[in-house]
Structure formats: C-alpha cells, structure tokens
Amino acid sequence: MSAVATVSGAASSVPSLWTLGAEQLQAPKIEYAQLSPTLIVLGAAVVGIVLEAFLPRKFRYGAQLILAALGLASAFAAVLGLAISGHATTKAAIAGMGAIAVDGPTLFLQGTILLVGLVSVFVFAERRLEPRSHKSGAHVDSWAAQPASVPGGEGEREATKAGWTTTEVYPLLLFAVGGMLIFPAANDLLTLFIALEVFSLPLYLLCALARRRRLLSQEAAVKYFLLGAFSSAFLLFGAALLYGYAGTVDYSGIARVIGNADRTTSAVLAETTGNDALLLIGGALVVMGLLFKVGAVPFHMWTPDVYQGAPTPVTGFMAAATKVAAFGALLRLLYVVLPGLRWDWRPVMWGVAILTMLAGAVVAITQTDIKRLLAYSSIAHAGFLLAGVIATSRDGVSSVLFYLGAYSFVTLGAFAVVTLVRDAGGEATHLSKWAGLGRRSPLLAGVFAVFLLAFAGIPLTSGFSGKFAVFKAAAEGGAGALVVVGVIASAIAAFFYIRVIVLMFLSEPKADGPTVAVPSVWTTSAITAGVLVTIVLGVAPQYFLDLASQAGVFVR
C-alpha cells in the first residue's frame, strides 16, 4: 500500500480518477493458517489430477491412495492445530475478506468431514471383493473399468479384461471434501453457492462410476444431477433476492438489515432494501436449496434412487459427509443470517421436521432393498436433526454437531458392511437375500446389528446419546410437541431396524444365498472405525458432548 501512496504522491499530474482507483485498491488479506485445512485438501486434489495425467496406469492406484489419505490426514491435523490454539473459541474470527468464518461449529464440522472422508477413502480403496481381471491378473476395485464405454459393449469388455479401473475417484473425493469444508464455513451467499457446486459436481460424477449395475448407477447420476442443479438454481435465485433486499451478500450485513440496525433513508433503495417480500421469498428459496441437500421432506425425492443406484462406497460417503456439510450451512444461515426472522421460519421448519421424521420412518417400513431402506432411514434422521436446529439455542447447535458426528460414522460403517454381502451379480442388496446371514457370518451380522441398533437409538450406542441430546435441546427450546413426534417416529423406525436384525438372525438361510466376502485391511479398518465410534460415543459420550458444547457458538 505504501508503494501506491508514494506513486500517487509523487506524480500529482496523474488524473484524479487514476489515483482514486489506486488508493481504493486494497490487496486482499488472506489468513492462510486459518484456511489451511481447505487449502491442503484442494491442493492434494489438484496434485491428484496431475498424477492421473502423467503416471502410468499401474502406479496410479497406489499414488492416488497415498496422496488422498495423506492430504485428508494432514488437513485433519491442521484442524486439530487450529482448535487447540483457540480458533474454535476465543480466537474465532472471519477470514478470507469476510468469506469464511473460522469458529467452533466450522472446526468441529470440518474435523468430522475430514475423518469421514478419510474412512471413505479406505472403503473406496477395497480391491479384494471383485474377481481379478482375466488378462493381467490385476486386482480391481469397485469402480468402472472405463466409465465412458457403453455398458455391455466391446470397449467395456476390453477395459475389464485389461484390468483397468477409475482412479479419478480419489481426486474427485478430495474436491468434494474441499467443497464440504467450505460449505459450513461460508460467511457470504456467494461462497455458499460456490461451495455447494464444488462439492456437488464431483458427487454427481462419483455416482456414475460403479463397476457393476452400470445402468442403475448412470440413472442415479442423471437424477442426482438434474435435481441437484434444479435445487442449486433455487438457492442461487434466493441468494440474488437476499442481495436485493440487503444490498450485500455478507451474512452479518444481511442480519443487520433484517434487524433494522442501519436503516436507509434513500428513496431509491426503499423499494428494495427492507422490502419484506424479497426477504421472505429469498430466505425461503435459500433454505429450500439447503433442505434439498439435507434430504428433508418434501425435497427428499432424489434420496432413495440416488442412494440405491450409486456405488455403495459413494453412497456411504455421500450420506455421511453431505449431511454434515449441509446441516452446518443450514445452522449458520438460520442462526447468523435469519435469527431476526425466526418467528417466520420456525413454524415452517416445524412442519418440515415433522413431515421428514414421519415420512422417512413410515415409508422405510415398506422397503425391500437394504440401500433404499438406509436411504429412507437417513431421511428420518434428517428430521431428528431438524428438531435440534429448531431449538434456536446454543444447546441446539451443539446437539446437532454431536448428532452429526455420531450419525455419520454409523452410516459409513453400515454402507461398508453392505459392500461385503455379495452374490454372482455383485452386491446382494435385496432384503430377502439377507435372511439367515447371522448363521453364516455371525461377526458381520453382529456388526451390522450394532449399526442398526445405533440407527434405532438404543442405549449404549452413539445413536441414543445423539438423539437424547437433540430431543433435550428441542424440548428446552420450546418444541415439546416436536419431541413427542420424534419419539413416535423413532419407535416406528425401530420396528424396521429390528425387523432386519430378526431377519438376519432368526430366519433360515437360503440355499442360494449370498456369500460374505472377506475384505482386505481397508474395509476392515473402516468398519472397525465405525463400530468403535458408535460404541465409544454411546458408552462415554461426555467428552465429545463437552467438545460439541464448547464449539456451539457462531462468530458473526
């Protein structure tokens, strides 16, 4: 800046417009340390693309795997470092010229997303489930041999014979994680929209990359893409209207205008600034875009189809990480931007939460496919989480944070188990095939039962501590009726979780039933991580509840 000042001071003959422009131009101040988790992950993703372009095919798998795991682990270390040095509490601040808020909820959710991403990389890397390729004898994973080739066509046959696989999944996962890290931290509407697209676009592609059942996988990708783009257009139009309302896209700026802090007297602006129609429509559209990503009724239509069609490792990642990121963004939007509007949004969210809990739980009963069943269960869980959001208190925020951490690991573990139950056509996802699984493979069925009990919210699992925290916060926040509905929905949901357990342990195995594949160390460690988190958060949740409670304050 001083250089600019001397130039304009020395050459006074420069036109005034020029000097004015030079003095107004400020170099952006970027807090690289606070943004380091995101920068590490996105940097690793870019390096992954370069590796993909230059490495010979046989080295790509190992290199991408190491890069992705290292990138996510070091980003998690950066989050831990930031949290330990007080950026979650006392030093919470807005970084990146007002674009990113680094505070307790951000760091808690970023840590969760990074761990979910890391465990997902382990599931992505599994190579012992598929038969080896005929020609080269290479191990292959569950990704399409060549995604661009027509299913069942000559190109696909050649690629499968040669033992090719899609190693681009690791950079795509890293890009998605990078976007998800920004999403709950976004502190203006532009960053929110960009982060949404940065994590959605790789997910659309990941959905289409299954090795088996490629038509289903492609169909899931088309549906997810069209509906996702539709909903992000709503979010963007809402953001544009909020900009029209407030004259700024900054979260705290919009909140100030809503709170009437700096009232404008200009007649030109009176038409837009402070026009409640713009505020209400804009706010509703933005919240709608976020509810779509969360999978709340009535914006849940994509969830079952996409969860069923997408490759199961992607489903696990998507179900866990997207929910964490989207709830983070929803919390920040409702608590930082629209608290002045809560008498308007709370009744609507009440309705959405009740519909989501009941519809998710009731429709799940009729499902016959395990992935679809878990999809409807995730819709019901979105409803439980919304109950915590409605509490509009610090306890509400921290209970939602804790629930997200607990729920995401249960989901990851459950979908990792689904990848192991296989028959000749790939994964055996039809529920009838799971009959008697407990007799054939007691360990796997037992692990899956633990996850189902956690979904149902049985004590001594993480599901119980999470649900208890959320419902307690909701009841204290004046949403007692919602808690009653939540408990009823939990009871309905428990019915179909227990039904699967009964099916696994108490019915006779079929003669042509599926086999349980013995996984390599990758999937084993992912499932072990899921079980450990589920039990630790269920038996001794206090430390993590305290952690979430310390992290429950948004910086404004």
Binding site: Y204, F230, L236, G247
Partner: protein
C-alpha cells in the same frame, strides 16, 4: 425505465425455467431450463447491483457464469453417457428404480 422491471423480467424467466424443468421430458431440454433459471438469477443480481450502486452483484454474476460452465461440462457428460447406453435422453425412460 426503472431497473426494478428487470427484476420482474428475471422472475418471469425463472418461473419459465422452473416450469420447463417440471414439464419437459428430454434431459437436455430440462438441463437448458436449469441454465435459464441460473441466467434469471444473473439478471436479478445485475439489476440489483445497478439499483444498490455496488459491484457485489456483478462479481457474483461472473462467478455464476463460471459455475454454469462447469455444470455444463459435468451435466452433458452424464447425459451423453446415459444416451449412449439407452439410446434415449428421456427422463421418463430412466425408471429402473421404483419404490
């Protein structure tokens, strides 16, 4: 002419786009309707930028254009892939998964 009229025009365009997504059956046309919705948002942003006299909206419009371009890359890849395996780009034909 008052710049607010451009906001009304944008709202009309947005509605046409949203209706198109719901009514049209060809995946490419559905996708074009989504693009129309994004462009309606752009028009809104630029109009409000003019009304408020600050540049936030125009900068945001540039970002939206880049995002829309990225979305075309991903979206057309997915739609073309579906067309190659089914010889149809109709969203009604993509119905292997039902309740």
């Amino acid at each position: 002419m008052s710049p607010v009229n451009y906001v009304y025009l944008a709202a009309v365009l947005f509605t046409i786009g949203a209706a198109g997504v719901l009514i049209r059956r060809n995946a490419i046309v559905v996708f074009m309707c989504v693009e129309l919705m994004l462009n309606a948002a752009n028009l809104t942003l630029v109009a409000f930028s003019r009304i408020h006299g600050n540049l936030d909206g125009q900068i945001m419009a540039f970002f939206v254009m880049v995002v829309a371009a990225a979305e075309v890359v991903v979206g057309l890849a997915i739609i073309v892939m579906m067309y190659r395996s089914r010889h149809s780009a109709s969203v009604d034909d993509a119905s292997l998964m039902k309740l």
